[in-house]
Amino acid sequence: MNFDLTYLLQIAPLLLKGAVVTVQATVLGTLLAAVLGLLMAILTRSRLRIVRYATTAVVLFVRNTPLLIQLFFLFYILPQFGIALPTYLTGVIALGIHYAAYMSEVYRAGITAVPRGQWEAAHALNMPRALVWRRIILPQALPPIIPPLGNYAIAMFKDTPVLATIGILEMLGVALAEANRSYRYYEPLTMVGILFLIFSLFSAVAVRLLEKRYAAR
């Protein structure tokens, strides 16, 4: 089995276009997950018991069910309720919700690490709750958890190929479409593997830098 370099060069532009989609989906998904995750973490500390329990249950459920099925669920069921989103957006939302559940646990760890005295001092100063979160708790809770959040962003990146199943042409989707057309799986799939490896190694280095930067605090 020979590795056909000319064929690879032929499809390289397509694969790189797929890589752009992959990176875009990861970035958008991470942003969504970071916001939703924080919201979930704050809601699990709500003063209303129902809100606390409901949020905890949602987080538990999302973390313990496969992303693939969640994706299908959103893809097939949202349109039934009249919410017709572009496929790409559905994919990003699925990634965002799935990883928000994971990230909420990271946020929770960061928030619990803030000493109790900080809450008490803020209460003593008669600060409203929203202000306590914004000015006292979050500025202390967030920096140490940036590296673990980065790790989840990398994990999400490696989950983006799942989006190919609903027809999004990210890296794997492009490679499979190309392979189905030419009946050549070797070159496209190897290339996708190598691209993933390169991205992962670079992002691992990036997270290590983040760790160095925020560990000092």
């Binding site: 089995m1 693939l68 299908f72 669920f73 993933f196």
Partner: protein, 220 residues
């Protein structure tokens, strides 16, 4: 309610495969994790490098890509396995690579004084690992291994993409024949969730048993 019951037989058939694949892949992943995790700590450079290459290769490329690679490309090199074997193998190799880091970290977390005590008692390194270091590290490994087991269970859903009739595949088939999306995918999610909860409880029980008497002094 009766509308849901007629979906169950098919889904249960799929669940069987899901459980079977998990049951085969999990022990294999454990072996891979232990072998490569210990190889990382071995005093032989070649073993260390082999372990690093294995871990980076399987952690660095996506599971789904690996699955398709083994399914479509490996047969070109004469490695023709049936889909289920391919699936179990890839899941085990992938999960094992993540487990390898757990093994490494857990062994590293055993206090240095334990190692020093072994040296003072003139134990050989192999014996120290077997009798002193590993038993303590193993208790630390269990909670992260529990998480990996859940990740493995969830990852089995990807096997539906290489033609294996698992729970996800059963759901897709039912969806194509009946079109009842909400019920089917809702039910599939519930079944995955229930299975994951059972596995979590099992791991909790195991943690308790293995950790019995060990962590008493650390409890606040």
């Amino acid at each position: 309610m009766t509308a849901l019951l007629d979906l169950l037989p098919q889904l249960m058939k799929g669940l069987q495969t899901t459980l079977l694949v998990t049951a085969f892949a999990a022990p294999l992943a454990l072996v891979m994790a232990l072998v490569s995790g210990l190889a990382r700590l071995a005093p032989i450079k070649l073993l260390q490098w082999l372990a690093i290459i294995y871990v980076e290769l399987f952690r660095g490329t996506s599971l789904l890509v690996q699955l398709f690679y083994f399914f479509y490309v490996m047969p070109l090199f004469g490695m023709s396995l049936d889909p289920v074997t391919t699936g179990v193998l890839v899941l085990a190799l992938n999960t094992g690579a993540y487990g390898s880091e757990v093994v490494r970290a857990s062994i590293g977390s055993v206090p240095k004084s334990q190692r020093e005590a072994c040296i003072a008692l003139n134990m050989s390194p192999a014996m120290a690992l077997r009798r002193v270091i590993f038993p303590q590290a193993f208790v630390t490994m269990l909670p992260p291994f529990g998480n990996l087991l859940i990740e493995l269970l969830k990852a089995t859903s990807l096997l539906s993409l290489i033609t294996i009739f698992d729970l996800a595949f059963a759901g897709n088939t039912l969806f194509q024949t009946t079109g009842r999306t909400l019920e089917i995918y809702g039910l599939v999610l519930m079944i995955y969730f229930a299975t994951a909860m059972v596995l979590t409880l099992g791991m909790r029980w195991l943690e308790k048993r293995m950790g019995a008497g060990r962590d008493l002094e650390f409890r606040p």
